[in-house]
Symmetry: C2
Subunit: 199 residues, 2 copies
């Protein structure tokens, strides 16, 4: 339908986003058509600006509009401890806890041979350089407890431990406030294996 | 956090959209940062273009990039029957059925005194003009079966019927393929009241 082309085109563009099906895309499109042009332009500008002004930090590969990023540049961070995460959004999650004061290293993925992702496709060479050139006491491996995340953590540990650097893994088990009943046997089994002695 | 400003700004802009909470907005933002600049620009352009190139049809008030819209301009539509809907997206829904071949009239809302929306805030004056100037046999009132949608349909019927024009209302009841068990008593009660004799 030629007459609906700009509308159809926006529905198509929005439906390509993760978690947005055709129906949500249509609802969003008609919502936006009901808004003022300035509001829609403001969203469009925010999109382009976020992408254009955001670079990967040359130290940790986190997304930032400054290089080095504000965490790497901060004099208040402990420079002897590194937390390795899969993705920039994991940095946000870690920062929210307020419990980590070291630096990060963002892999931008996990090793996934079935999808052709090897160590060279990730920032693993950069991580090893960083560990070689800086005085790092501990590396916390905070990849996700998925198969690929576990594989990646194990792979990194076998590279890092021989460098005389302590490697740790974030713990996995029943989420705090969670009910055992609702978690799968793998999670409950892990929680059992990783039990901590009460003192 | 000044360093994250373009990212934070995009999360904020996206979280203002309906059905997109802060968490989804963050997930979308980081997804977009992982994409190529051209893809993000393509989405931004689609947003502005849809809004800028879409106008309200001067006849039926549906959104279109031509005026009159392609439905009003089509020689294949039955010009003696009008379907009144709340919103342009309802036109899409009706068109999908393939069972309506007349013209539309889009109200752009419903009468809602509690929100200060009266008949003059909708395209009701335009509807009455259309009915006065054209040879219309029937008006189908297809506002939603909500309180305000019902009130609006009743209000329109009291204006239109005295003009000697047949007024009908789309039927309400158990959705086709639905199970009675899952619908509220109001829906089931309506389905009972609106029962149709089997022949």
């Amino acid at each position: 339908m030629k007459g609906h082309q700009p509308i159809e085109n926006l529905i198509y563009e929005l439906s390509r986003l993760p978690g947005i099906g055709r129906k949500s895309a249509q609802r969003l499109t008609y919502y936006l058509l009901d808004q003022d042009l300035e509001d829609v332009e403001s969203l469009a500008k925010a999109l382009v600006r976020a992408k254009r002004d955001t670079k990967k930090c040359s130290v940790c590969s986190n997304y930032s509009d400054q290089d080095p990023c504000e965490i790497c540049a901060s004099p208040r961070r402990d420079r002897n401890i590194l937390c390795v995460v899969e993705h920039p959004k994991d940095v946000v999650t870690m920062e929210k806890t307020g419990k980590f004061h070291g630096l990060y290293h963002v892999l931008h993925g996990v090793i996934a041979p079935q999808r052709g992702v090897g160590p060279m496709e990730l920032t693993i060479p950069e991580l090893l350089n960083r560990l070689g050139e800086n005085d790092i006491d501990e590396v916390i491996l905070a990849t996700n407890p998925t198969r690929d995340g576990q594989t990646t953590a194990l792979y990194l540990a076998t590279l890092i431990q021989p460098m005389g650097i302590k490697c740790s893994r974030i713990s996995h088990g029943i989420p705090v406030g969670g009910d055992m009943e609702y978690y799968d046997t793998l999670t409950v089994g892990t929680a059992l294996e990783n039990r901590v002695e009460m003192k």
